[in-house]
Structures are given as C-alpha cells and as structure tokens.
C-alpha cells in the first residue's frame, strides 16, 4: 500500500523563503534551495514551493529556484502560485518541477485544468483550493491569498476539478490555517468523499497527534505544513516516526 506523505511547503517571495501567518505578517527565513535540501535530509516525501509574489518577472526567479533544487533533491517537487497559463506549466515542468499547482486561474478558467492534463498528464496537475466555512455549513473557495470569496462551493469545485483532469487536490482550510488546532477534518472528509484522486491536507497542524489524527480520521493521502517545519517546532523525521508508531505507513 502507498505510504502517507509528509510534505513541507516553502512559501517563496522574490527567491527567498518566507512564512506568512494567516497570509499576513510575512517573515523571511532563508534560501529555498537550502531549505529544500534540509527537508530532503529529514525525509520529506515531496516538497512544495508556493510562489507568493507570482508576478511575471518573479516567475523566472521561481523557475531558477526549482531548477537549482532539482539538481540536488531527488524527490517530487511541486510548484504553485500565480500559475495561470499552459506556458506557466511548461516553464515550471521544464525547470524540473514534477507537478504544478493551480488555484485562482483554474477557478477563473476551469478549462486550464483540462488543457494542462491533456498536454502534460493529470499526474502533474494539482488543483489547490483555499476553503472557508460559511454560516450555512458549506465551504466556499477563496482566492487572493484567502481574502476573496468566489461564492463557489469548495466541495463541488474539488469534484469538478477532478472531472476536468486534476490529478491531486491540495486542500487548505482557511479557518484552520495558522491556528495550530489541528487539520480541518470535516472539510477533508467532505472532499475525500467526492474525489477519486489523492488529497493533500493543509492548514492547522500544530502537534504530532494532528498528523496521526488526519490519517486516522480522514481519507487524506498526504499532509502539508509550512511554519511548523520552518520554525523547527517539529522535523519531518519526528512526524514520520510518530506516524510509524501509530501503524500508519510512511517512508522511513
């Protein structure tokens, strides 16, 4: 059976790693290539780069970061942030990314998912969804760093994205993100129920138990964290040892 994956996420701005706390108050913490190498040493199963500047000129900087990382780190690399065209996919894949994640642009133009899947294969098309809970109990997909409500039902969107060819869903709970109170289990379960591709849980983890909990109580295939690993509150290795001790299959 497949191992559950632990994925550190590096938020990159202008070629430097930063970490936002609830997407505001960004702090700089280092060189992305060095950070990726460190995570690789700790046993990361995959590394996600999220380009939070995502203007056109910075995309080149990001491609360069990916290219330099791929020379030294031999696990799958995913790049997201500001991806809006098939050319952006091609640029990142050529630079050495194995997967590209798309968020706002896919909500604006869902055909982008189908085009990318057709051209590069579903396996490299990740659809990232930032979801926030509504008063009626449903979740809406948000864009613009979690500031803008699209009015689109996040669970419906996850399902639709898969129908269009998404190979994976990266699901961030805007409610849980930054709280360290645990992953958003109801949201994850709602999405896992309607999609047949891997789901990456993101947002809310603060302790080792949160990682075992998300795999024991939801169908998530992977868990992603940024600040927890950045500020060395936990290492990837500690998380995997904990999961192993809980009989959850991981790559050690």
């Amino acid at each position: 059976m497949l191992d559950k994956r632990i994925i550190p996420c590096l938020d990159v701005r202008d070629g430097k790693v930063v970490k936002g706390i609830n997407f505001v108050g960004i702090r700089e913490v280092g060189d992305p290539v060095e950070c990726a190498e460190e995570y690789n040493r700790q046993g990361a199963d995959e590394i996600v780069f999220l380009d939070i500047t995502a203007t056109h000129e910075h995309r080149k900087t990001m491609a360069d970061v990916v290219c330099r990382t791929a020379e030294k780190v031999f696990v799958p690399l995913t790049v997201g942030g500001g991806i809006s065209t098939i050319e952006d996919f091609a640029t990142m894949l050529r630079a050495g990314a194995d997967k590209v994640s798309v968020n706002s642009a896919a909500l604006k133009n869902p055909e982008l998912i189908a085009q990318a899947a057709d051209k590069f294969g579903s396996q490299c098309v990740v659809v990232a969804i930032d979801a926030r809970k509504m008063e009626d109990g449903s979740w809406h997909a948000y864009v613009a760093g979690g500031r803008k409500d699209t009015g689109i039902d996040a669970v419906w969107w996850a399902k639709r994205a898969c129908e269009l060819g998404a190979g994976e869903i990266l699901l961030t709970s805007m409610d849980a993100d930054g709280t360290k109170a645990g992953f958003d289990l109801p949201l994850l379960n709602a999405v896992c129920e309607v999609v047949n591709v891997p789901v990456i849980a993101s947002g809310g983890c603060g302790t080792l138990d949160h990682f075992s909990e998300v795999f024991e109580k939801t169908g998530a295939d992977a868990a992603l964290a940024a600040s927890l690993f950045h500020y060395r509150e936990l290492t990837v290795g500690e998380v995997k040892e904990h999961l192993h001790a809980h009989n959850i299959p991981v790559r050690l």
């Binding site: 059976m1 497949l2 191992d3 791929a70 696990v75 799958p76 396996q123 190979g167």
Partner: protein, 199 residues
C-alpha cells in the same frame, strides 16, 4: 558514458540531474552513433505508450535500441520500462520493443488510479540493481498501466491490491516502473548500481 535516450518524451533532466549528482558521466542524445558508443543506456518515458513508440520510431531509434539493449546495461524507466515489453493495451494495442516477454495492461485494483506515490519494494530474487536496497524500501511511482510478465523476469514487486512488477530484468535489460530519479536515497542507490554495471 551513459546515454540518456531523447526521443521527445520524458523526464530527461531529472534523470540527468541524478546521474550528475552521482558523478556518472552521461549525455542526452538521439544520435544512433552515440547510442552505439555508450557503455550504458537509459530510456526514460512519461506519457502514453502509443505516442512514445511512435516518437521512438520517428526518431529512427527503434532498431538501434533493440540491437544495443542486449549488448550493454539498459534501463527503461516508467513508460520506458513498459516499452520493453511485447505490447501494450494503452488506448489501442501497440507493439513494444519486445526485449522482455510480457504485455502492458491497465491496473485493475480497488484503489485510486493512477498508482501515485511511495510504495514498498517486495524483493523477488537477486538483482545487481538492488545491492544495498533492503526489503520494504519505498520508491516513487506514477502510472496507470502495469507490466504483466512471468515472475522470472521480475526482481521486485509492489503491492497495490494487485502485485505490480516494480523492477524487471532479463539479461542486460532492466526496467523500473517507479522513478529512481525521484525516489530519494533508495532511487539513487539503484541508479548508482546501474552505473556500476556500465563501468
């Protein structure tokens, strides 16, 4: 020198990065003369079987690969491994290189397809590629089709509700269904072992 065969499909740079990291001399090429000269060959592959076989043919490389693969260490990766077999069912029945007996069929199992992620090697006999690779090591897979071949051609399986040949071997012809260039330390060990055979 290891020739990484470039026929327009595949993850050439990841393979090249890994070989460079290991200090293994290599070259990306579609030149038949270079392929004949090389001490070892790697056939990468991402995409669909019929397209890849067509591109190989259009590059004029089908025959040289068939001839050279039985003379020196040859490693097919992912789709590059599937192409080593007699034929594949992907989209439409298409002939492969026929270097290892067997055919390629859609994975039938109760789990999500593609089979994507880290899965465990179950060793099946000995292989020079598996020196220093313990039973149960995790390697990275991304595929929807699998090789169906006799166990004598398989040196490692993985379990995904169905036993999937992960590493295949016949004489000098090796195939990895997973991506050794994306499989961390274990993958690097396998590529290093392959490199050792080419020296």
């Amino acid at each position: 020198m290891i020739a990484i065969i470039d026929y327009g499909a595949g993850n050439l740079f990841s393979v090249q990065n890994a070989l460079r990291f290991l200090g293994l001399e290599n070259q990306i090429t579609r030149d038949a003369a270079e392929i004949r000269k090389a001490n070892g060959l790697i056939l990468p592959g991402v995409g669909a079987f019929p397209d890849a076989m067509r591109m190989l043919k259009e590059a004029g490389l089908t025959e040289v690969i068939k001839e050279e693969a039985i003379k020196k260490p040859f490693l097919g990766i992912c789709l590059g491994m599937q192409m080593l077999f007699n034929e594949s069912d992907e989209f439409t029945t298409t002939s492969g290189l026929g270097l290892i007996p067997g055919r390629v069929e859609k994975i039938v199992c109760p789990y999500k397809i593609p089979h994507m992620g880290w899965n465990h090697l179950e060793l099946n006999g000995k292989s020079p590629l598996l020196a220093g690779v313990p039973e149960g090591s995790s390697v990275y897979f991304v595929h929807s089709y699998m090789a169906c071949t006799e166990p004598e051609n398989v040196t490692a399986y993985c379990d995904y509700g169905v036993k999937i040949p992960a590493l295949t071997e016949k004489g000098t012809v090796f195939g990895a269904q997973f991506h050794p260039e994306k499989s961390g330390e274990t993958g690097l060990t396998i590529l290093k072992n392959f490199g050792g055979l080419t020296k």
